[in-house]
């Protein structure tokens, strides 16, 4: 690795944040060790690193979530030690978490002023003043979200804007954004970029955690790379290339996924005929309408679409997890099937990795072993009695096959980084020997090193004859590995592209097809 003497650049101004020898230990796991770097006033400083590199831990220390750590943090040269997020906010440091921190049952304005409500005498809320100010803040962000709307009715991108509005109302001088685009559609990302531009014009210093090279290279002034809890290097964006950063993050070169010859002549393993899904109490009436497609043996089929286009709902229909059940025909291995429960779909050789890992995938109170074997438990048991050794062998095989970084099969699942948790869930599916694998946004919140491994894994599985349907919120990702891409827009298939035909622009046109035609 070439050691550029880059950290010495632009030291002219006094740093707004100095991070000095920060260390953090969780029981036996050392999450951070001796991390030191400076953040200059007004810069957008990206922090990158693989899963488990310690980015989120460092940001939680900076924002007062963790108050016990080694080392020192200085704001404008004065040492500080935040005891709570409130302390940090008072000092001008706000964080926008990857998993947003809003009270869904309250209105937008109530969330923005939560804990700092405007009131009349006797503690009576001054609702109109809060609504007015919230509307002001949102207008500054060029958004027309109603301050009275319930947060639960907003899309994720809008919820994030509410968090940003809250940070502005706190006069945040330093804003930490932890993977802000991981759940956003392209148009929402574009809007976020313009909000970030505005924030920078106001002189806000931004610490930006991301896995995505393209956005970091578009936004950042400087990039700090962490690996395995340690500081690797801070580089100027203009001196770096995505390849060099990837090298710093992983510690080795990342091989692009190898292509395999796809064959559409292979037998069809799954087919839908005018599949529809009702949407009770909604003006559109149908979540999915008249879906027809075929999946071939060994094929990787991608589904693109904006958030709310029906990607997740479609996979749920195929997996027997939708409520209500879909109408239309579902043909698996040549037989018409209706799945009333995921158990029946699994019997038919279908496995699914769900989108929202924390809510729909993880058993947070259980170990890696228990999480990995839960779907295939009967195969590790005789007459319903579990064999611990068979279970451990099954877990060990998946830890090895997917290179899961864990402190053994008996470690708690929550002690693993997000990407490794995701791999455990994929391992859980693989233990059922599926012939059809459904992956709902599997690389969400997973960094490039682990992503590359997931791509390779998909290719390998497809080469072994497994058919894969994958959705993703990231278009560039869909474009790299898939055999075919179908585009969903408001529950309807609006485009089909072979690998050669697919471009980002064509897919976006199809994904916004209905919206543009109805606007016109």
């Amino acid at each position: 690795m070439s050691q550029n003497p880059i950290p010495s650049v632009s030291q002219s101004a006094a740093p707004v944040i100095s991070i000095r020898s920060i260390g953090k230990q969780f029981n036996a796991v050392r999450a951070l060790q001796n991390v030191s770097f400076d953040v200059q006033p007004g810069e957008l400083h990206a922090v990158m690193g693989e899963n488990g590199a310690g980015k989120s831990t460092l940001m939680k220390i900076l924002s007062g979530v963790y108050s016990e750590y080694d080392g020192e943090i200085a704001l404008h040269g004065h040492p500080v030690r935040f005891q709570s997020t409130r302390d940090a906010e008072d000092a001008g440091v706000s964080i926008i978490h990857q998993e947003l921190n809003l009270v869904e049952q309250l209105s937008v304005a109530a969330n923005i002023f939560l804990g700092r409500e405007q009131k009349f005498a006797l503690g009576v809320l001054n609702q109109s003043a809060m609504d007015r100010k919230a509307a002001d803040l949102l207008r500054q962000l060029e958004s027309n979200i109603s301050p009275r709307a319930l947060v639960s009715t907003l899309r994720i991108g809008d919820q994030q804007l509410v968090e940003i509005a809250k940070a502005i109302s706190l006069n945040a001088e330093i804003l930490i954004m932890d993977e802000p685009t991981s759940a956003l559609t392209e148009s929402e990302v574009a809007r976020l970029y313009s909000v970030i531009d505005q924030l920078r014009k106001r002189g806000v210093t931004i610490l930006y955690i991301s896995h995505k090279m393209d956005e970091v290279f578009r936004l950042a002034d400087r990039i700090t790379v962490l690996r395995d809890g340690q500081f690797v290097q801070t580089v100027n964006r203009v001196d770096a290339t995505p390849r060099s950063i990837a090298h710093l993050m992983v510690g080795r070169d990342v091989e692009p996924a190898r292509r395999r010859d796809a064959s559409l002549n292979a037998p069809v393993v799954l087919e839908t005929k005018s599949l529809s899904l009702a949407w009770p109490n909604h003006s559109r009436g149908l979540r999915l309408k008249d879906i027809n497609f075929q999946l071939h043996r060994g094929e990787i089929l991608g589904f693109a679409g904006l958030m709310g286009a029906g990607r997740t709902e479609l996979l749920e229909c195929l997996f027997g997890a939708s409520n209500p059940p879909p109408q239309g025909e579902l043909i698996v291995q040549g037989q018409a099937r209706t799945f009333a429960h995921p158990a029946e779909a699994m019997q038919a050789g279908i496995a699914m990795v769900t989108e929202d890992r924390k809510r729909l995938g993880l058993f947070a109170h259980m170990t890696v072993r228990e999480n990995t074997t839960v779907c295939a438990l009967p195969s590790c048991a005789t007459a319903g009695v579990i064999s611990r050794s068979r279970e451990q062998n099954a877990t060990a095989s998946q830890i090895k096959a997917l290179s899961i970084k864990t402190n053994g099969s008996e470690a708690m699942i929550t002690s693993l980084s997000g990407g490794n948790q995701q791999k455990c869930i994929i391992g859980r599916c693989m233990l059922t020997n599926p012939s059809i694998l459904l992956l709902d946004d599997p690389t969400r919140g997973v960094d490039i090193g682990a992503k590359a491994e997931l791509y390779q894994l998909m290719e390998q599985l497809a080469a072994d004859g497994v058919s894969i349907i994958v959705t993703s919120s990231e278009l560039p990702e869909l474009l790299t590995v898939r055999d075919r891409i179908l585009v969903l827009c408001e529950g309807v298939i609006t485009g089909e592209f072979s690998r050669e035909e697919a471009t980002e622009q064509r897919i976006m046109e199809a994904a916004t097809h209905l919206q543009t035609s109805s606007d016109a």
């Binding site: 995921p342 228990e370 048991a381 319903g384 009695v385």
Partner: protein
């Protein structure tokens, strides 16, 4: 596993802490009991504690299974009363001659026994239907049967006994056999072992734990959550039915208006003391059994120390033990020093706790020859002073941290 790792794991287990706490209570009772009952008459004392723990244990096991699977069952006290009534009613219906004469035919007893357990299974099925098909929260579904089944049992009793409000246990020989502590304990051990095996070593047990921790993820992992819930609630009600028959024999009569009233909360308390989390997913059967033993031993200790009439305070003791047990088990998880009193609500609670302890002291010992109301005032004030000191210590710990910040 290395010896250090083994001891670290042992030390952090709820079961080990409960055994230590239990030993401490026993030792304190040996010393503080004015009659020195444990020392003078260990056999009888042990029998009493074991009987009470085992009776609680039956339906606490059921409560634990339901809590681990992510639910709650408020109805077990009423199911106990219902089962005692159903058992008595079936005997009256099947062998009216024998019932009057006090010598029941064996076949009638066996059929009544099976019928009673079946009625428990029916209640469990009803709960599962209300929860999975009708879509009620478990709290509401079992609240309905908590109220409803007791009333149902009273009506059944009236109908079967020519408008009497209780059914007397008919057969003395059968009664002695059913209330025999050795027999009941053996049945309990077999049941406890079976449920422990089910929960710890079988696919069903793992799935129950998984469902309790994350029901949606369990369903999407292909687990038939509705059927598992049915199983959990049937186990909950059938264990209560079994012990209902024993209570019938033990007390000599089934009085559905008062039998086992409020016991459901004791069962939930014992499970929670034994380490079950009401969030679901977490808990063990050995822990629950130790929770029952610990709870009954503390109640017995207070009985011994306070003397006659102490059964009035059973509820107070259960409340205090639950609060303390859960507080300590929560604290073990957090590294941060907790502030009990150095907050506005904390300061406000100091007079509450002082008055409570002072008045309780008076209630407990008012019959003792040495007692005067000055004692209670001094004791209550002493508690207040100790808590205020503790509050200031917490405050200092807090201000040290703040100093560091500036």
């Amino acid at each position: 596993m290395s010896p250090q790792a083994f001891f670290a794991k042992l030390w952090s287990s709820v079961e080990f802490k409960l055994i230590l706490a239990w030993l401490a209570v026993v030792i304190v009772t040996v010393i503080a009991d004015p009659g020195h009952t444990y020392f003078n008459n260990p056999g009888n004392s042990a029998e009493l504690i074991i009987r009470n723990s085992v009776l609680l244990g039956f339906f606490a096991l059921g409560a634990a299974v339901i809590i681990i699977s992510g639910g709650i069952d408020l109805s077990s006290g009423s199911v106990i009363a219902m089962s005692a009534t159903v058992f008595g009613s079936l005997l009256i219906a099947l062998d009216p001659e024998g019932f009057r004469a006090g010598h029941l035919a064996t076949w009638a007893v066996v059929v009544a026994f099976i019928g009673t357990l079946l009625s428990g299974a029916m209640v469990g099925t009803l709960h599962a239907w209300l929860i999975t098909c009708v879509g009620l929260p478990p709290f509401i579904a079992t609240l309905a049967t908590l109220v409803g089944l007791r009333s149902f049992s009273r009506g059944l009793t009236l109908a079967m006994t020519n408008n009497k409000s209780q059914i007397d246990f008919p057969d003395l020989a059968l009664r002695d056999a059913l209330k025999d502590v050795t027999t009941v304990s053996i049945v309990f051990l077999v049941l406890a072992f079976s449920i422990w095996f089910l929960m710890s070593w079988t696919v069903i047990g793992r799935h129950l734990h998984a469902m309790g921790g994350n029901e949606q993820a369990a369903r999407l992992s292909g687990i038939r959550t509705d059927r598992l819930k049915w199983l959990a609630y049937v186990i909950g009600s059938v264990t209560a039915s079994m012990v209902g028959i024993v209570y019938f024999a033990d007390t000599g009569s089934a009085k559905p208006d008062i039998l086992a009233r409020g016991y459901e909360l004791n069962a939930i308390a014992a499970s929670v003391i034994g380490g079950c989390s009401l969030q679901g997913g977490i808990g063990t059967i050995p822990g629950t059994i130790l929770g029952c033993l610990f709870l009954r031993t503390v109640i017995d200790a207070v009985n011994k120390i306070v003397g006659s009439g102490a059964d009035v305070y059973e509820g107070m003791i259960v409340g205090i033990v639950v609060v303390m047990a859960v507080t300590f088990s929560q604290r073990a998880g957090t590294a941060r020093a907790q502030k009990f009193f150095a907050t506005p609500i904390g300061w406000a609670s100091i007079p509450v706790l002082s008055v409570l302890t002072g008045v309780s002291f008076m209630l407990f010992f008012r019959d003792k020859p040495w007692f005067g109301s000055a004692h209670a005032i001094v004791f209550g004030s002493l508690v207040g002073v100790i808590l205020i000191v503790r509050g200031f210590i917490e405050l200092r710990a807090k201000s040290r941290v703040t100093l560091q910040k500036t």
